[in-house]
């Protein structure tokens, strides 16, 4: 028995018949293609992170890094005592470590903030 109904025809809107527009380039694809625009985004992140790293190292040098010079210029500093201990001992044996942890903690927070900004710039828009 043959079917009298005509074969199915796909009904489509006129828009789909038009040639597809190329997808709008994303920042990620610009970066992958190493275009000038992608380069600007990457350079921005790199510079921001490097500035942050240099700033943290600057604080390391001005705290722990200057200690030998301070002790060298002020030899009498050992005569001062805190809780019975010479000041250089309090600084070197105990006080240095919390300073290092605080510098590291502040760095990690700032570095993650810069990365979050970068992600927002690349994906958000």
């Amino acid at each position: 028995m043959s079917d009298p109904r005509p074969p199915r025809v796909r009904v489509t809107g006129p828009h789909a018949a038009r040639p597809r527009l190329r997808p709008r380039p994303t920042v990620a694809s610009e970066i992958d293609a190493q275009s000038d625009l992608g380069e600007i985004y990457v350079q921005g992140l790199l510079r921001a992170q490097l500035r942050l790293a240099v700033r943290t190292l600057f604080w390391l040098i001005t705290t722990v890094g200057l200690l030998p010079l301070v002790f060298w210029l002020l030899p009498g500093i050992g005569d001062h005592r805190i809780a019975g201990m010479p000041v250089p001992w309090v600084v070197l044996a105990f006080a240095c470590y919390p300073v290092l942890v605080v510098l590291a903690w502040r760095y990690v927070r700032a570095a993650e903030r810069r990365e979050a900004d970068f992600v927002a710039a690349v994906e958000g828009r």
């Binding site: 992958d32 390391l60 030998p68 002790f71 470590y97 290092l100 990690v108 992600v119």
Partner: protein, 504 residues
């Protein structure tokens, strides 16, 4: 003291180490597991493992001994060993993880696409690894003789065998758990006896070791406490050179770097480093206190046997069964220190040897196991060929060598696109040759003083700038590697993983 307690402590730590290693074995199956625990170690665990691995015999026994013998000047060592992680954190931690390489030679190859740079890095990893392993074996022998009376070679042999058994059984995965355990063991073993020792000290009237009336070997309390003056005649140079070596050298130590690949991503690598800084800080406030108490209660050790002060103090200050038990705990901690550092170095050196040498003959896990045997046996034999040196001296030279070779490679490689393969190779060769010369000179001859002695003892202050200058200058005059590929790697090193980029 009762020798039985010391032997018991060593046996217990060995059994615990092997047991945790075997427990880790059940989840370690592939070659990737062996090398880097399949990159699934949480920051807390990873930080415990890095700290456990990093705190060697030089930290556990050596710092106390150095402080007893030389005083405040030696406090720069633990400060530098900790601050090195801050420098590592800000300059290399996240990019290193994002580079996706297993080892330092892998990083060199990824960045420069050059077999030659890779080969130079491999040789340096093995050199630094062995330079660091050698004093571990020597010191383990001496420490075990102090508490158990066995000859030094036997103590070193025990460490070598336990390390090898553990690495052969499980590789990095088992090492992770073992080293987390060993960090907490070391911290407990150092902190708990100290509580009792300080109570005794306060009961005795709490005399300050820096008191002017406390004179040991003709050195007054004030001179001993001075952070610059005692040894050498160029203390400012020596201190700054040591600072440079420890600040920069940490990032170039093969057993430290290999652990960064076990982080899940770059953010986890940063978090891990932050926790490491806290864990190391908590540990390093302890050993100098032993050294300071030793000046009051064990001044006779200052001359010749300073390294044993940490193990001796409970006997001198408390005595009896309490002293014996505390000494046993300290022995356990010291033995854990030797095992942890040696295991980490063995895995790092074996990883490189296996990838670059033995894998051409045998494949995968078998190659790694074969390489591990080579990695342990060579420095073990060298430990008996070389003359006896202070642990901290040799470890300090290993730091200087890492600071003059891998530190510039990593920092310039990560932050400067202009570093060329030829520049990297030249800088590493020059830095390696200069610090290598200093190492040999130190091993062979003993110098009385003067500028030359200071320069050779602490080579970092001149070797690092020369190495960096060589890298920059040679890079200016040689062709770059494929710039498209270098740019692509730079993107991968510095962008967070959650941005959907082409990371191949």
């Amino acid at each position: 003291m009762n020798v039985g307690y010391g032997i018991g402590a060593v046996v217990l730590v060995s059994i615990a180490t092997l047991a945790i290693g075997t427990w880790g074995l059940r989840i370690s199956r592939t070659t990737s597991d062996f090398f880097v625990a399949s990159r699934s170690v949480r920051p807390g665990l990873n930080a415990g493992a890095i700290s456990g691995e990093y705190l060697s015999g030089a930290s556990f026994l050596g710092v106390g001994g150095l402080v007893l013998a030389f005083g405040g000047e030696m406090l720069w060592y633990p400060v530098g060993w900790t601050a090195g992680y801050l420098v590592l954190l800000v300059l290399v931690a996240a990019p290193l993880r994002r580079s996706g390489a297993y080892t330092l030679p892998d990083f060199a190859e990824a960045r420069f696409s050059s077999r030659r740079v890779r080969a130079i890095s491999s040789v340096l990893v093995v050199a630094i690894g062995w330079l660091y392993l050698l004093p571990q074996f020597q010191a383990a022998g001496v420490a075990l003789r102090t508490v158990t009376g066995i000859p030094p070679w036997a103590g070193a042999l025990i460490v070598a065998v336990v390390v090898l058994a553990n690495v052969l059984a499980g590789g990095m995965r088992s090492i992770t758990f073992v080293q987390v355990f060993q960090y907490w063991l070391k911290l407990t073993a150092l902190a708990l006896p100290l509580v009792f020792l300080v109570i005794v000290w306060v009961g005795d009237g709490a005399t300050s070791p820096a008191d002017a009336r406390v004179v040991v070997d003709g050195v007054t309390g004030a001179d001993w406490a001075d952070p610059l003056a005692v040894t050498g005649d160029h203390p400012l140079y020596t201190t700054y050179s040591l600072m440079l070596a420890t600040f920069l050298g940490t990032m170039g130590l093969p057993h430290v770097v290999v652990r960064y690949y076990t982080n899940r991503d770059g953010r986890a690598a940063r978090k891990t480093t932050l926790i490491v800084l806290a864990l190391l800080g908590a540990f390093y406030v302890l050993p100098p206190v032993y050294g300071a108490l030793g000046r009051l209660y064990a001044p006779d050790l200052a001359g010749s046997a300073a390294d044993s002060v940490v193990l001796e103090l409970p006997q001198r200050m408390i005595g009896g069964i309490g002293g014996d038990l505390l000494t046993a705990l300290l022995t356990a901690g010291a033995f854990a220190a030797f095992l942890a550092t040696s295991s980490g170095l063995t895995v790092a050196v074996a990883g490189v040897v296996s990838q670059d040498v033995t894998s051409r003959r045998v494949s995968g896990v078998a190659s790694f196991r074969f390489a591990a045997v080579i990695a342990v046996v060579v420095p073990f034999l060298l430990a008996f060929a070389a003359r006896d040196l202070a642990v901290a001296t040799v470890v300090g030279l290993a730091f200087a060598m890492a600071a003059a070779t891998f530190a510039p490679l990593l920092v310039l490689g990560i932050w400067w696109r202009g570093l060329t393969p030829a520049g990297a190779a030249a800088g590493m060769l020059v830095g390696g040759a200069l610090t290598g010369y200093a190492v040999v000179d130190n091993l062979v001859s003993e110098r009385a003083g003067g500028w030359w002695a200071a320069l050779i003892e602490q080579p970092a202050a001149w070797a690092v700038p020369i190495s960096v200058a060589t890298m920059v200058l040679v890079s200016r005059f040689t062709p770059a590697a494929d710039p498209v590929q270098v740019n692509r790697l730079m993107v991968r090193l510095h962008t967070p993983e959650d941005v959907a980029l082409d990371r191949t």
